[in-house]
């Protein structure tokens, strides 16, 4: 069938799912009164005062199906409503403003998680029942049981309170001043990259230093699952016939592990990537809150706090929902790429 057809097929499936998601969110909102829902439609400060006008304009008292279409059309125009909590402003704008911090965090965390997970999973399987296997398994159960927020607090307690190495936030105070000044151009919003692009290496280093603890916190939460799946799929791959076959050709044990067994063992792990991104998204909410990183996660946490900022919460949910679906699509495509049986069978 080929990759192209497969991708097109998946893209088509995407549409009903997204529609379903919007329906879900929409129905959740219906619980609230029209006045509260008006927040979803206003775009500026002034409009916040004319609630009745808003209600009229967007048919908030009309039957549900009309409301749904009105809402969807607004969303597609980019109007996700207005935040009345700080930071005040359009929801979409706020989300986009906060996105870079989260992106930076996840971009650094994801490879760490994946590589660590694969490494320990493979090592654990290859050296089954030896020390490294036991250590890995014990650590991963402990890691899985740890409350993520508690870990963050502990890390802060040790490294910030007790040892004073690095504090919460993305940058130290002086670095922050520089970054916000006029001389510093924010190309991407990612402090690490912007530091390089502006020729201020120390800012990059500072940002990296501040990323260590949050990344560690995120890793511990998510790695356990990968290690476990990788280990069991690797154990299975090592019993397969092609391993002996490869050795009979004259390949060394290590080569066989890396080239043959691992590639096959990775297949089930790729399907995990979807779950991993879910875990990352939720982990980000907590980690950002604890470490005072002004990203999407802390935005969500803030908006959800009573009294909730409906537009914020819903905007965030919609945004992440769609994002998540797209990520899953990418994962499925990657899956088809690695395992030829999927795309051809």
């Amino acid at each position: 069938m080929g990759m192209r057809a497969y991708i097109i097929r998946r893209l088509l499936l995407l549409i009903p799912t997204i529609i379903g998601v919007t329906l879900l969110i929409f129905s959740v909102v219906q619980v609230l009164s029209p006045e509260q829902r008006a927040a979803l439609y206003i775009t500026s400060e002034q409009q916040a005062d004319d609630i009745d006008e808003i209600i009229e304009k967007y048919h908030l008292r009309d039957p549900i199906y009309i409301q749904y279409f009105v809402w969807i059309s607004q969303v597609l125009k980019g109007n996700l409503g207005f935040n009345q909590k700080s930071p005040r402003g359009q929801v979409l704008q706020n989300i986009l403003n906060r996105a870079p911090a989260t992106i930076e965090l996840t971009v650094f965390a994801a490879p760490v998680i994946i590589l660590t997970g694969i490494f320990f999973g493979v090592a654990s399987a290859v050296h089954k029942d030896k020390l490294i296997d036991h250590v890995t398994r014990v650590t991963s159960i402990i890691g899985w049981s740890f409350p993520s927020f508690w870990l963050g607090i502990l890390l802060l307690a040790i490294f910030y309170a007790a040892l004073g190495w690095v504090g919460p936030g993305r940058l130290t105070a002086d670095a922050n001043v520089v970054v916000r000044s006029a001389q510093f151009t924010r190309y991407t919003g990612l402090n690490t990259i912007d530091g390089l692009l502006n020729g201020q290496l120390w800012i990059t280093l500072d940002a990296l230093k501040h990323l260590i603890l949050p990344v560690v916190s995120l890793t511990v939460q998510s790695v356990a699952l990968i290690v476990r799946v990788m280990r069991s799929s690797m154990l299975e791959a090592l019993t397969k016939g092609y391993v002996v076959s490869a050795r009979a050709k004259g390949l060394g044990q290590r080569e066989v592990i890396n080239k043959h067994a691992r590639r096959n063992a990775l297949i089930p792990v790729v399907t995990l990537a979807g779950m991993l991104s879910a875990g990352l998204l939720t982990g980000v909410v907590i980690t950002e809150t604890i470490f005072n990183i002004p990203g999407l996660g802390s935005y969500a946490a803030h908006m959800a706090l009573p009294p909730p900022d409906i537009a914020g919460v819903l905007g965030f949910t919609l945004f992440t929902g769609v994002l998540f679906i797209i990520v899953n699509l990418i994962v499925d495509v990657a899956y088809a790429y690695i395992d030829p049986r999927i795309r051809l069978g």
Binding site: G20, F149, I153, S277, V285, T317, G321, I325
Partner: protein
């Protein structure tokens, strides 16, 4: 070993009254009693074994009664998930066809979301409290159960003894309960025990973020959120307030660990393919 831990906690939960007696005049045992109005937490002392948190809530009391809360949350949510998942999964798996398609689509849509985020949305709309957490987690968690149950049913449906039962003329319901479910139980048991731990973690996370019961309620997550401002005391005694976040955290950790170990033990016993003796 997991069983030991769980047993320990069960005892505490059941005997909360004994371990941490409710002071007189106090109506709701789940509200931690306050012993003063200072905002600064006090270190452990003979009266307050674990010390007091911000605004003088007794930590020891909170931890003990928090056990009950944790059990409540865990059991109710998992039960709710099981119930919905059972109904949905059975409908889809057993009847197949259009019903199955419909059911799977709904499952997929809910499943498409990262659970905690959807739960956050629910809770914020419903207004934060313990009940909304429980409700939200139920609404968010059932898809995985539904999927597992459905695939188990599909698998068992093809076995011969199901055909035989139908041939004798058993009613649908009877077939479902007596034959299919009994054989599909294993993965469900494993899932439920592992999930209880995860649910408690999620609930704690939600409470921590402020989306749960009000401050002063006996809930571990809530107590840790109270401690957030007290990570750092002063340069002389930086970890001075350690007791505010250590004790509840240990409770959460060991509780979840117990359930995880239990689930793992189940898995080792019940899944022979994983045995590599």
């Amino acid at each position: 070993m997991g069983i030991t831990i769980i047993a320990f906690f069960t005892v505490i939960a059941l005997l909360s009254q004994v371990f941490a007696p409710v002071p007189e005049g106090h109506e709701d045992p789940f509200r931690i009693p306050r012993f003063g109005w200072f905002s600064e937490p006090q270190p452990p002392s003979p009266e307050h074994l674990f010390g007091t948190a911000q605004w003088q809530y007794d930590i020891y009391y909170g931890c003990i009664w928090g056990t009950r809360t944790a059990f409540r949350i865990g059991i109710i949510v998992v039960a709710g998930n099981l119930l919905i998942g059972l109904v949905v999964g059975t409908l889809g798996g057993y009847y197949g066809g259009l019903i199955d398609e419909l059911v799977m689509r709904i499952t997929d849509i809910v499943w498409a979301f990262p659970g905690l985020l959807l739960a956050m949305a629910f809770v914020s709309v419903m207004g934060p409290s313990l009940d909304s957490i429980v409700l939200a987690l139920i609404l968010v968690g059932w898809p995985s159960y539904a999927r597992v149950i459905r695939s188990e049913i599909l698998r068992v449906k093809q076995e011969d003894y199901v055909e035989a039962a139908k041939a004798i003329g058993c009613s649908d319901l009877r077939v479902i309960f007596k034959h299919i479910l009994i054989n599909s139980i294993y993965p469900i048991v494993i899932m439920a025990s592992l999930d209880t731990g995860a649910v408690v973690l999620s609930a704690a996370a939600l409470s921590f973020l402020g989306l749960g019961p009000p401050p002063g309620y006996a809930d571990w997550g809530q107590m840790i959120s109270l401690s957030r401002g007290f990570i750092y005391k002063n340069p002389v005694d930086p970890l001075g307030y350690w007791f505010t976040w250590t004790y509840p955290g240990i409770f959460i950790f060991t509780f979840v660990l117990g359930w995880n170990l239990l689930g793992d033990a189940f898995r080792d016993i019940l899944d022979p393919t994983l045995r590599r003796r």
